[in-house]
C-alpha cells in the first residue's frame, strides 16, 4: 500500500502536469529528490515532462515561499527597468504550500511582494517535517546511507545496521509545537486536509529560556550564537528577508562589523529576528539550514509570542487584516509610554535663560 506521502507526491505530479498542460500556470515550485538520504532540492518546473521529477516526503524542510517572488518575476515577459508593465494578466505560478508556507504567501501578499491573483496554491496539509540533524544525532558516528519512510516510522540504514525509529520523535521542534499545519490558502487541494493541532503549550521552548535568570539567559545567548560563521543561510532561506540590500551588507553606512566578533554576530541575529516580528510563521527553515546547528528560531518564536500576546495576531492567519507592526490602533498596548502622573521636568524661564539661546535658532534683529 502506498504511504501518505507517496499518494501526495503522485497528486502533486498529476496536478502540476495538468496546470502546465492547460497553460493555467507557467511554472510550478516544488521539490525534487536530493542526492543524499534525508535531503531534497527545491525545484521550479516549467514543462509538463519535468513534472515527474517532483516529489513530496517528510524531509521537505525549506520554505518554498522563499522562491515565489523570483519565480513570478522569471515568468514575466522580459522588459527593461523603465518599461511599462505589459497589458493583460501576467503568467501565474503554482506552488506547493503547507500551513506555514501558505501563511508566508499571505504575508508576501500583504507586503506587496506577491500578487495573489498570480499564485495557484497547491495546498498540502503538513504532518510535520523530520529534522535530519535529529536523526543523525541518534546514529552519531555512523554514516546513514538510506532512509525509508513509512507513515509513522523511518527505517534508517547504514553499511552495517538497519533500525526503525518513530517518525514523530525526530520531527522538527517547530513542527512539534505547530498549531496550523493545514494551508490557509488552497487553490488546488493535495491529499487530505489536516486538522488544527493543539499542543499543550506552543511556546514551551521559549518559556524554558524566559524562565532563566538574566545571567543564565545571557549565557544561553552567548553560547548559542558563538558558533555562527555568518554565512547568512538563515537569512537567505527566509521568505521574509527580501530587502534588496540587507543591513549587514550595507557599506554606507556600515551597521555591523564583518568579523566574527560576538557583538557583531549577536547584533545580526537580534536585528534579523526583530525584522521578522509580526511576520514570522515559525516555519523553522532558518534553524534547519544552519550549517552550525544554531537555534536562532528561539528569537523569532519569542517575538511571535509577544505579538500574539500584545496584538492577538499570528502572522499570515488573516489575509485581510493589516500587519500588526505597520498599523496603529487607539487601543494598542503602550506600556512604553511615560506615565502621565509622573512629574514633568519644569521648563522655568530662568532655566532656559541660563542655557542661553538654542544653537541654530533664528535671532531677531541685532
Amino acid at each position: 500500500m502506498p504511504t501518505i506521502n507517496e499518494i501526495v507526491s503522485e497528486e502533486i505530479r498529476a496536478q502540476a502536469r495538468k496546470l502546465l498542460e492547460e497553460g493555467t500556470v507557467a511554472a510550478v515550485i516544488g521539490y525534487a529528490a536530493g542526492t543524499l538520504p534525508m535531503t531534497v532540492r527545491p525545484l521550479v518546473v516549467r514543462s509538463p515532462e519535468d513534472c515527474s521529477k517532483l516529489i513530496w516526503n517528510t524531509f521537505c524542510v525549506l520554505n518554498l515561499a522563499n522562491y515565489l517572488p523570483a519565480t513570478l518575476k522569471s515568468v514575466e515577459p522580459p522588459r527593461g527597468p523603465r518599461d511599462p508593465k505589459p497589458e493583460g494578466p501576467l503568467p501565474k505560478v503554482a506552488i506547493c504550500a503547507t500551513g506555514c508556507w501558505s501563511r508566508n504567501i499571505v504575508v508576501q501578499t500583504q507586503e506587496h511582494q506577491v500578487d495573489r491573483d498570480r499564485v495557484v496554491v497547491m495546498g498540502v496539509g503538513s504532518r510535520g517535517m523530520v529534522s535530519r540533524r535529529k536523526v543523525e544525532a541518534i546514529f552519531s558516528g555512523k554514516e546513514i546511507l538510506k532512509v525509508e519512510e513509512g507513515d509513522h516510522e523511518l527505517i534508517v540504514q547504514g553499511a552495517d545496521f538497519s533500525e526503525t525509529i518513530n517518525r514523530w520523535s525526530v520531527v522538527r521542534d517547530n513542527c512539534q509545537t505547530c498549531t496550523h499545519p493545514d494551508p490557509v490558502l488552497v487553490d488546488v487541494r493535495i491529499g487530505e486536509p489536516v486538522s488544527e493541532r493543539k499542543p499543550p503549550n506552543p511556546f514551551i521552548q521559549v518559556e524554558k529560556i524566559e524562565q532563566k535568570t538574566v545571567d543564565a539567559r545571557w549565557a544561553w545567548f552567548t553560547e548559542e550564537f558563538s558558533t555562527c560563521i555568518r554565512c547568512y543561510a538563515c537569512r537567505n532561506a527566509c521568505p521574509l528577508c527580501y530587502c534588496p540590500t540587507c543591513f549587514v551588507d550595507d557599506a554606507k553606512p556600515q551597521w555591523v562589523g564583518k568579523s566574527l566578533d560576538a557583538v557583531d554576530t549577536g547584533l545580526f541575529h537580534v536585528l534579523r529576528a526583530y525584522h521578522c516580528a509580526g511576520r514570522c510563521t515559525d516555519c523553522g527553515t532558518c534553524e534547519t539550514v544552519c550549517p552550525m546547528g544554531i537555534n536562532m528560531r528561539m528569537l523569532t518564536k519569542k517575538l511571535n509570542k509577544d505579538v500574539l500576546n500584545l496584538y492577538g495576531i499570528e502572522a499570515g492567519m488573516q489575509p485581510d487584516a493589516p500587519l500588526p507592526l505597520t498599523t496603529y490602533a487607539m487601543d494598542d498596548p503602550q506600556k512604553f509610554m511615560a506615565n502621565e502622573v509622573a512629574p514633568v521636568p519644569s521648563m522655568a524661564p530662568a532655566t532656559l535663560g541660563h542655557r542661553g539661546p538654542v544653537p541654530g535658532s533664528v535671532k531677531e534683529g541685532k
Binding site: Y67, R230, L260, T265, T288, P291
Partner: protein
C-alpha cells in the same frame, strides 16, 4: 624519507611532548565557538592527556582556519591625536609559536598546497604556513560523500603532511614528510618501521591509484564558453539560496575582503572571509555588479573551482572532501555539477 613505527601509547606521549613547546590542536567533535582567542573554530587545544578521536571522513572543520584565520589583523593604528603613533600603521605582533594540528585528513592537507598556489606571495598566509605543522592520518574508510580520488587526491595520500600516520595491525607507521615533521620526531625514541609494513602501504596506494578516476581531467581541455553557456546553470542557480555556507566550510575557498574597524580610537585593518555567493563580493564602486544575478554567482563558484583555477594553476580547486555536499541547505551537489559539465557537448 624517514618512516617510523609508533604505537597508540607513543602517539599520546608524542602529543604530550609537543604540547609542552607548541600549541597542539585536534578536531573538536562538539560545537566550538567560531571566534575565541584560544582556539580555532572546529578545533580544540589538547595536551595529549586524552585519547585522540577521529571521525570517519573529513574533520568537522577544515584546516583553512590555521592558515587563513577569520579574521586576520593585517595592520593596527590609532586615531588618538596625542599618541606618538598617530598617522602610523603598524604590523601587529604576530605569534611565532608553532601550532601543531593533529588529525588532519589527506584531503585537507592537499587543500593547503592548492591554496598555496594563489597565496605564494601572500606574507600572512606564508607566515602562518611556516609556523604550522600538519600531523595527518590517512583514511581507512571513506564516507559516501568523499570523492578525493576524482580530484587527484587519495585517501592514503601523504602530500602536504609533515607527519603522515597510517594504521597498521598494532599501531601506525609514520612517514616524515618535511623538516618540520623531522623536528617533531627529533629526540623521541622511535623505531624505524618494518620493511614489510612499508611495502604493504605502498601496495595499498598502488591499488588506490588504479581505482581513481581521471575522467574529470578532460574538463581542463574543454572550451570555457561552452561550459559557461551550458543549460545546467539556470536550474542550479534557481535552487541555490546564495548563502555562504559552502564557501565558508570549503577548505579551498580562499577569497577575502579587507576592512578597517575602529573601536574607541584604536583601529585595525582586518581581512576576513568573503564569499562569491554574496552580491557585495562583486559590486563595483560605480554601482554596477557584473554578477548581479544569483545564477551568475552560483556558476562562478563552480567554474572557478573546475575551470578558472585549473586554467591558471593546473589542478582543480577542490579536494573532494564532500563537506559542501553534506551541508548545502538545498542539496546542491558538486559531484552532480561535475557530471553535468562533463556531459556538455
Amino acid at each position: 624519507m624517514k618512516v617510523l613505527k609508533v604505537t597508540p601509547a607513543e602517539l599520546d606521549a608524542m602529543m604530550q611532548q609537543w604540547s609542552k613547546a607548541h600549541r597542539v590542536y585536534a578536531p573538536a567533535l562538539v560545537k566550538q565557538p567560531a571566534a575565541s582567542p584560544n582556539c580555532a573554530p572546529g578545533w580544540r587545544r589538547v595536551d595529549g592527556s586524552g585519547a585522540l578521536t577521529l571521525s570517519t571522513g573529513p574533520t568537522p572543520a577544515s584546516v583553512k582556519t590555521f592558515f587563513f584565520p577569520q579574521p586576520e589583523t593585517l595592520l593596527t593604528y590609532t586615531l588618538e591625536n596625542n599618541h606618538p603613533d598617530k598617522g602610523l600603521m603598524r604590523e601587529p605582533e604576530k605569534s611565532k609559536e608553532m601550532q601543531v594540528v593533529v588529525g588532519v585528513r589527506p584531503c585537507d592537507a592537499r587543500s593547503v598546497l592548492l591554496n598555496n598556489l594563489p597565496y605564494q606571495e601572500d606574507p600572512f598566509f606564508q607566515a602562518n604556513r611556516r609556523r604550522t605543522a600538519l600531523v595527518g592520518f590517512t583514511c581507512d574508510q571513506s564516507l559516501s560523500t568523499c570523492f578525493c580520488t576524482q580530484m587527484g587526491g587519495s585517501p592514503l595520500g601523504s602530500e602536504g603532511l609533515d607527519l603522515a600516520f597510517s594504521r597498521t595491525q598494532d599501531g601506525f607507521i609514520v612517514e616524515v614528510g618535511s623538516a618540520k615533521g623531522e623536528a617533531l620526531v627529533t629526540g623521541l625514541d622511535l623505531a624505524p618501521a618494518d620493511e614489510s609494513e612499508i611495502t604493504a602501504l605502498a601496495a595499498r596506494r598502488q591499488k588506490e591509484v588504479k581505482a581513481s578516476s581521471t575522467e574529470l581531467d578532460t574538463l581542463k581541455g574543454r572550451e570555457l564558453g561552452k561550459l559557461y553557456d551550458a543549460p545546467l546553470w539556470q536550474p542550479l542557480g534557481e535552487s541555490c539560496i546564495n548563502c555562504g555556507a559552502c564557501t565558508f566550510i570549503c577548505p579551498t575557498c580562499y577569497c577575502f575582503d579587507i576592512q578597517d574597524e575602529v573601536v574607541r580610537g584604536q583601529g585595525r585593518r582586518i581581512r576576513y572571509w568573503d564569499s562569491c555567493m554574496f552580491p557585495l563580493y562583486s559590486l563595483h564602486t560605480s554601482g554596477h555588479n557584473p554578477r548581479g544575478q544569483k545564477v551568475q554567482r552560483t556558476r562562478n563558484r563552480f567554474l572557478h573551482k573546475l575551470k578558472y583555477f585549473p586554467d591558471r594553476f593546473g589542478p582543480f580547486s577542490c579536494v573532494g572532501c564532500g563537506r559542501c555536499v553534506q551541508d548545502c541547505p538545498v542539496n546542491i551537489d558538486i559531484r552532480e555539477v561535475m557530471n553535468d559539465l562533463l556531459a556538455v557537448e
